[in-house]
């Protein structure tokens, strides 16, 4: 009978970047972009509630760093021609609600949320660093540098959260687990859609 089927590989019209593992890089940049976008919205929510409190300046400073992170990933997204996740409008609202909600629990609540989210993000960045190093550390040198720097920044945010009595929040471990579960789900979805 007729052979071949539609198995003939067709030229991709996309791809100014030859030689990179496009599917892997696509996922990495899409999910990181979504993460930084979400983090921005979380801090925005926290500032909306706690902006004029004593922790306002601390949150503002962490927020400013996230803004820089997002700016960087916007650039990378355009450079590598990666599509953003369809869920962006959803993360827009969900992030803000998480930030504002945790801030309504008080300053410690906001810090607990920060600790939970930043721990998730740091772990996530570490996984990506491992993946890229396994692929080809030379080819992905610039991307690796960016992710390592950002991982360090998020780790710092995590530590700042702890310094500000995050662990003294009532039901801290429950809150932290719930938030981290949410982060895992967000990461899973944003990589794919």
């Amino acid at each position: 009978g007729p052979g071949g089927g539609a198995s003939l590989r067709l030229c991709a019209t996309r791809g100014a970047q030859d030689g990179i593992n496009k599917p892997v890089i696509d996922r990495i940049i899409r999910v990181d972009h979504a993460g930084e976008y979400g983090a921005n919205r979380i801090y925005a929510g926290q500032m909306a509630v706690l902006g004029r409190s004593s922790v306002g300046p601390v949150i503002q400073q962490m927020w400013n760093q996230e803004k820089d992170h997002l700016k960087k990933f916007n650039e990378l997204m355009v450079a590598y021609r990666v599509r953003p996740t369809v869920l962006l409008p959803f993360w827009n609202i969900a992030g803000f609600v998480l930030g504002a909600g945790s801030a309504l629990l008080g300053k410690k609540g906001a810090m607990a949320c920060t600790v939970a989210v930043e721990e998730s993000i740091s772990e996530h960045y570490n996984n990506q660093i491992r993946t890229l190093i396994e692929e080809d550390p030379e080819k992905y040198k610039e991307l690796l540098q960016v992710i390592k720097q950002f991982r360090d920044d998020e780790q710092e945010h995590h530590d700042i959260g702890l310094e500000h009595d995050a662990e003294a929040t009532p039901a801290y471990s429950v809150l932290k687990t719930a938030i981290q579960l949410g982060c895992k789900a967000a990461i899973f979805l944003s990589e794919r859609i």
């Binding site: 067709l10 019209t13 599509r83």
Partner: protein, 241 residues
């Protein structure tokens, strides 16, 4: 990579050519015969003949011409990319003016649709084959890549939901214009190009309206906030007095 050497009789043989490369060559050769035979095994057989191969080579492919059509679409998309890339270089070198977005989109869509003209009689048949469930993943992939390419060269740098909106709108413009072209009998397809111009203008107007609505919305919100602050200040000062 294929190595070729010239044998003694002056005949060139491919020392190593992948089956895929061979299939591509057959399909490209077959395109010449599509206007006469349609997207069929006959066209592929004729194409194989011109390459000095047996007509049985047509047996490598589906009888409905799926691979031939997909190959054609892929080749057209590649040609479009190369054209847009070349024009982009000219703009970068300052040898050409950068087109405004609406003109660029019109130009890109028209250039791509013009590639159908030699095959226009048989294109409706091709469209129906592209819509077969078996072919939809490939044809959809080709369509979305092409639309994304056009936006890329148009200078789109959106990293938010606009990324999707713009591509959806342009896909709609492309598809509807393609259908109009199928039924257009005007000289030089001028009806089609006019239709295209109107659709692109609609899209531009829509996006202007959207941003106007957004800024109006923001202005209204700010007005309300201002009014609320004024009222609360008035209340406070009245209470103090």
């Amino acid at each position: 990579p294929s190595h070729s050497y010239t044998g003694q009789g002056g005949q060139e043989s491919e020392d190593y050519e992948s089956e895929e490369q061979l299939q591509h060559r057959i399909l490209t050769a077959a395109l010449e015969f599509v206007p006469e035979h349609g997207w069929t095994a006959e066209a592929i057989a004729e194409g194989a003949k011109t390459l000095g191969l047996s007509v049985a080579a047509a047996g490598l492919f589906h009888s409905d011409g799926s691979e031939l059509i997909l190959h054609f679409v892929s080749e057209c998309n590649t040609k479009l990319s190369e054209l847009l890339k070349k024009e982009q270089k000219l703009v970068q070198l300052g040898e050409a003016e950068k087109k405004p977005i609406d003109e660029f989109l019109r130009h890109a869509v028209e250039a791509r649709l013009r590639m159908l003209i030699p095959y226009i009689e048989k294109w409706p048949q091709a469209l129906s084959v592209l819509l077969l469930p078996r072919n939809i993943p490939s044809s959809l992939n080709l369509l979305t890549s092409m639309i994304d390419d056009i936006w890329h060269y148009a200078g789109d740098q959106s990293t938010d939901f606009n990324w999707y909106t713009r591509r959806a709108v342009l896909t709609g413009i492309y598809n509807t214009t393609e259908l109009v072209m199928m039924q257009d009998s005007s000289p030089g397809f001028e009806d089609t190009w006019r239709f295209l111009e109107n659709r692109v203008a609609d899209a531009m107007a829509m996006s202007n309206t959207a941003s106007q609505v957004q800024s109006t919305g923001e202005a209204v919100v700010q007005g309300l906030m201002g009014a609320a602050v004024t009222v609360s200040n008035a209340e406070t000062s009245r209470a103090v007095r």
